[in-house]
């Protein structure tokens, strides 16, 4: 293995991308090449150093982040409280809405529902004309409290 390939594999190892077999080959090369061994040591040591630095930075910024989060949380709470307190108009707006729905239901229930039973208000019917091409038609009127009946007699069946 030449040193150029070894440096590439050192970087791959630092990223955790080097297969185990190639890692063994790299170790063999590092054992015999002090320059590559020094490069490996430098690169391998960079990761922990960066992590330590990031940790220190985070610890430095923690109070500022805590303060910011407290402000964000307070803001969220404030919004939530505002939503919980409905406005005067919003509190009463449902009354006309309910009244409207109730009125519409009352108005349309008898005429728009197919399930309402028959409740005729009158049996007063004037039959202006009645005719049939194929049947005999009888008109039966038994008085005001009974409905007028037009009876179709086909081939004397009924």
């Amino acid at each position: 293995m030449d040193c150029g390939t070894a440096v590439g594999k050192i970087l791959a190892k630092a990223d955790g991308l080097l297969p185990r077999q190639e890692e063994a080959e790299l170790a063999g090369h590092l054992a015999g090449c002090p320059a590559c061994a020094a490069e490996d040591a430098a690169i391998t040591g960079t990761g922990p150093a960066l992590r330590a630095l990031t940790g220190i930075r985070a610890m430095e910024k923690a109070p500022a982040l805590d303060a910011m989060w407290t402000r964000v949380r307070a803001g969220i709470e404030e919004k939530r409280e505002t939503r919980r307190r409905p406005l005067w108009a919003a509190r009463w707006v449902w009354i006309p809405a309910v009244m409207t729905i109730a009125l519409l239901a009352l108005l349309f229930y008898p005429s728009r529902t197919d399930r309402s039973p028959f409740h005729p208000s009158s049996f007063d019917v004037a039959v202006e004309d009645v005719e049939s091409d194929t049947a005999t038609v009888a008109l039966v009127d038994k008085g005001e409290d009974l409905p007028t009946v037009i009876w179709i007699i086909e081939d004397a069946k009924t």
Binding site: L87, W88, A89, A90, W92, V93, P96, A97, M99, T100, L103, L104, L107, S111, R112, D114, R115, S116, P117, F118, H119, P120, S121, S122, F123, D124, V125, A126, V127, E128, D129, V130, E131, S132, D133, T134, A135, V137, V140, K142, L146, P147, T148, V149, I150, W151, I152, I153, E154, K157, T158
Partner: protein
């Protein structure tokens, strides 16, 4: 100090409108209803098979019983159409029969209906009826299964 959101507060005119909305609807609906006739057609199967009377027939149950000699009355179908004057509505009936209803011009609370009942190309009945709004007429006789069909025609 936080300022109230002007968009979230309903003003007096909006509130007044909301309160008057039901009344406005009440005023609007009858004027529309006056120009249209709701034709309601129920197809009842009357026979001597059993003694049951369909509760869906409402107060007409007793009338049917006192007018006809059948022991059983069952609602097969019920259809309702809102029709303008001059507009023809078709109602499908059992056994490939159909009924066409056309509201005609009428005065006051009267409804005039031109009715035509046919079976295929055969014209079973052509009639013109004058009813009060909410009135009812029965058309019966066409055979159905072991009994007859009785049509309950009402107009509102």
């Amino acid at each position: 100090m936080p300022r109230p959101d002007p968009r979230g507060r309903a003003g007096a005119p909006e509130l007044l409108f909301l309160l008057l909305l039901p009344l406005l609807l009440l005023a609007a609906v009858p004027s529309e209803a006056a120009d249209t006739v709701t034709v309601d057609v129920g197809a009842v199967y009357a026979s001597n098979e059993g003694t049951s009377i369909d509760p869906a027939l409402g107060m007409i149950r007793g009338k049917l019983h006192s007018m006809f000699n059948y022991t059983s009355y069952r609602m097969l179908d019920r259809k309702r159409r809102s029709l303008s004057v001059g507009e023809t509505g078709e109602f499908e009936l059992p056994d490939r029969r159909s009924m066409r209803a056309t509201p005609l011009p009428a005065r006051g609370d009267k409804v005039r209906l031109s009715i035509r009942i046919s079976e295929g190309s055969r014209n079973l009945l052509t009639t013109t009826l004058g009813l009060r709004r909410g009135g009812m007429v029965l058309v019966g006789g066409p055979p159905h299964q072991a009994g007859v069909l009785i049509l309950i025609i009402s107009a509102e």
